[in-house]
Symmetry: D2
Subunit: 344 residues, 4 copies
């Protein structure tokens, strides 16, 4: 069988590098090119040293891209939207890892991104690339917007709950690794400053809220989201405190979760009564496409504590993108994504 | 002036070692003895290597303790209560760092500690050692129970709020360093297992809730507390999500905070509009007796995000104990506690 | 083709868990059992949470082991030797990850391990399982002793050098992750104590010296080895300072290295002139079976600085063990070991 | 007594911030100004958040500096030299923390710094500010060049040895925290890249070699130095492998060390037979002006393993600068430098 040809635009960053890592290990695809304006002509492994010995590809200029079967866009927010016509002309399947086509409402771009979307007429052509919620739409789709990392960590555990229960209030307290802020150094990412922090860097009004409201229906004004930078490179742990407008018990939650996610290849339930790993833990999913989910009911306040863990660069970005691709082109969904995590 | 003589019972653990560190630097006291059954006869600096060159003291047996002006008890929970009569006979001022005398209600010991308190008749003799709330009672007090570390990080920022506003719900999402679990190795504290975790180790029903309910009046059923182990040795960061049953604005919160804490030597307000350190950060208070407090109002849900940072071994234990001692014996409150923190 | 049946004795530790991780992803084998006296009857994923969803195996008692095609022994040093007859009777291929059969000389066990070897008559039956040095002997071998982790990190870069140059002196300064000390908590592995250390835990006389002397011929009295514990879970970085009794230049070193390792599937050379990753880096090989090697000649003292990086649990233990198995049973050498590393 | 007036030029970096931290706690001095071109008019605590509440000083422009009793220069290498006349005119005591006046030989600036020194006629006016070696010269000196951080960690343990023994070869393998590279973000200091490294960033020819050769007499061609970046913010651990051209035993080393450093306020010897802290450890000296020194003789190769630990920003920079100032102005040498370190 002829291999599927892949183009990656914006390959010097972390999501681009992660796509190369995953796709090199994917038996049915072949990477045709990876672009980087800054590193044109340099071996990809000079930027992503883990790839040394696994690929001879060199970065090409974004001006030199050509037709491929699937094109992945790993560009800064705003850049993709401005060039979307060009990219669409080069590939039947466009998979965008930026936020430029995640939202359906152009007003959301105004209010959350302070940005006038230049191609809002295309917003409805993009499928929000979360297979657990939109698998049917992703089949044979040609335009996919890959969800934000903290949005993924919040929406996946919450989706079955908000569909089936009356919700009063949701508080998402996320803990995020440093790779989630990208590959460009800043004052805040300087190691002596970033090391050892527990930093509530955006207590309210984070942009990913827009995705959460879009995907979790009828939650207007009920979602509170505060991400924290912690000492970690990869990973997002979300502790989600849910308050209900009804009675419930843990068994109801179990039933709902299992009904929704029973056959999902990348959802695991984690709830042990003893040991150190009783709930989801980001280091255990590091490098994998897993979203681990666990929960407990607070017996004294009726709160549900929902906990999820993902790798922000895999299930939170490039892994989910590959999963979407597999679905869109009709091959086995887990291809290229079956690598196990680590302990310790 | 004759120096105040100090006894420390249980000096091999982290709070005991931290008391020695602080009291060596305290100009008006002299440590008479430090006990450890396990390390009897050994130099204290063999257990606490930071003290090398600063003290020649050796651990003595707890059977050999004698009269002192102030006795600090750093024993495991349960042990203090069983021997409290002996300790009280040896010193006019007893300062207990365990949880044995923090709670006023013996029923709380039953329900939160699953423990029948052997000396509940003494519970009301102990003052809850949080100077910001009970300074007047601490003056000339003879029995002091030092608050729990996560309780300190939650109660200090919340006290002015719950006193002055109508509260609907409080969610405390704390991130805690590994030293908070004490000096004894366990499977969970083994470095390869503990390293890099974001571990919700007790999503509900943590014991320190009892202290929070006791000190924050009229909050029955409104407090939700979930501590997390993160990659850090010292420090507690608490992000506290508060929902109100009334309107409020940020200025009201500022006014309330300042009114309550204006003259406190160990409370700082941290709220910057730019830079990396816009809110309290545990690494900045590391080694100090500070409790840093910051906050922001979520414009879309009216939630108040309250953030605090302390060093669990200083303001969360031994530093607060020394502060209480200074108050109880009538010397300058900040003595021995003025050391600055670090950057970076 | 019928899958090769595998038994793993001592599966609760880190090398045992790592074997399961690697062998689950190995297309030609099937794990028949994994033993643990302590965790009998428990799911393997409760001990190794990364394996959740990938295996239903439960630990069995070491008393219940049966015949398999290949048996891996992950027992504490000393235990393997005492039971080697039993293990040998159960499998045609015995692969031991302990130190019990690495050395050829029973006197070395006396002097380095302070241990009277109970089956020294078998020492010569075991092949030292380092494919780069002993591939031919490993083919169709039936008993393999997997090298020590720091020995691997030192011997691989040094072997071509000592074979081809006159050596005056070698100083190996290694930096080691905490998983190298095994899965049992100790005072020294307690997170608050082990966190952030740069600890020269064995400045001289480390046991792995015996392997280095055995495998690097004619180096008597010339090797100096000082391992350091650093803040890392997996990984060994070795900076090896080599002094010569002859002239040489960098090109000679390159030629020697390439001649020796040109076709090795798990050796990479790393030597960049710019960027952050100019020399081998343990985090880049984390999770892989790679040994990265780089070097530089000191222009002012003629010293050669040789640098290697491995994952102590993979190339330093379980990965090398699988590589040896593949060779011994005559299947493709890299099977099960092709997973890429990570960046960042 | 009138307080000594201090000016700090270049206060936005880490050594400048550390000077402020130390001098605020120094009872006999008063900081008159701290400069930063970038942060003019901003509160110092916005850049150094640990200082919040301890100083109201704002950064002034370097163009606005005035006469003081002591001026500290914390400027980038090269800048100090170009403006040294101006600085000298403003203060009787100039203490430079850059490398611009550490070396006596202008040729060393050519070869190690690739730099034509603009004021080499002044090189001999500066005293190399290492009190343990040059205390007498520092008394009443007016120009002091504070040693480099890795040079301090190497020279202090080596000085007594090279003075008293015949040396064959010295290999210094240092492990360095990220703050040693300063406060400006780079690709290499970006947290996802810098986190978890064991990076031999300069295997040979490091600039600090020039200082080592200058201060350790008659060692031409005998010193080998390879610093490594490890996961740590503050601290330098140096493992120094020394080979001799004579016989020696450990007692000789002890005698030599004690003779040299017996009365030094900031040297401690660390050599325990058991426990985790048997040798110097950078985290134990973090925040202090201590240089901890330990050693062991390798019984099989006669090598001496010398180990030191310092805080690069204190004994390796600002603390040593303050110690020099105290000596130069004739006040108690340890003033402002007596803060204890931490455990854990």
């Amino acid at each position: 069988m002829k291999k599927i040809e892949i183009g990656i635009v914006g390959g010097a960053g972390y999501t681009g590098g992660e796509l190369v890592r995953l796709l090199i290990q994917h038996e049915k695809v072949k990477i045709s090119y990876v672009t980087s304006r800054k590193f044109v002509g340099k071996s990809i492994f000079k930027r992503h040293p883990n790839l040394r010995g696994f690929t001879d590809l060199k970065f090409i200029s974004p001006d030199d891209i050509s037709k491929v079967d699937v094109i992945f866009l790993c560009l800064p927010h705003g850049v993709t939207a401005s060039k979307i016509k060009e990219f669409s002309s080069l590939s039947n399947i466009v998979i965008d890892l930026s936020s430029d086509f995640r939202l359906k409402s152009k007003e959301d771009y105004n209010s959350y991104y302070n940005y006038e979307h230049p191609h809002h007429e295309l917003l409805n052509e993009f499928i929000y690339g979360m297979p657990e919620l939109h698998r049917n739409m992703l089949k044979e789709s040609s335009k996919i917007a890959v969800p934000g990392c903290t949005a993924t960590g919040a929406i996946l555990p919450l989706a079955p709950i908000v569909e089936n229960f009356k919700i009063n209030k949701i508080i998402i307290d996320a803990k995020v690794g440093s790779s989630a802020s990208g590959a460009s150094p800043t004052d805040g990412s300087h190691h002596p400053e970033r090391h050892g922090v527990v930093r509530c860097f955006k207590p309210s009004n984070h942009r990913h809220l827009a995705e959460m409201y879009q995907e979790l229906k009828n939650m207007d004004g009920k979602i509170n989201f505060s991400p924290h930078a912690v000492e970690m490179v990869r990973g997002i742990q979300s502790t989600i405190h849910v308050f209900f407008d009804q009675k419930y018990n843990e068994k109801d939650i179990w039933r709902t979760m299992i009904q929704k996610y029973r056959d999902e290849p990348f959802i695991r339930f984690v709830r042990e009564k003893s040991g150190g790993y009783r709930f989801p833990e980001p280091k255990i999913v590091m490098g994998t496409n897993m979203c681990d989910i666990g929960f407990e009911k607070d017996p004294s306040t009726e709160r549900l504590i929902l906990i999820s863990a993902i790798d922000n660069l895999v299930k939170g970005a490039s892994g989910q993108a590959v999963q979407c691709m597999n679905i869109a082109i009709g091959i086995e969904e887990p291809l290229g994504l079956t690598q196990l995590g680590f302990h310790p």
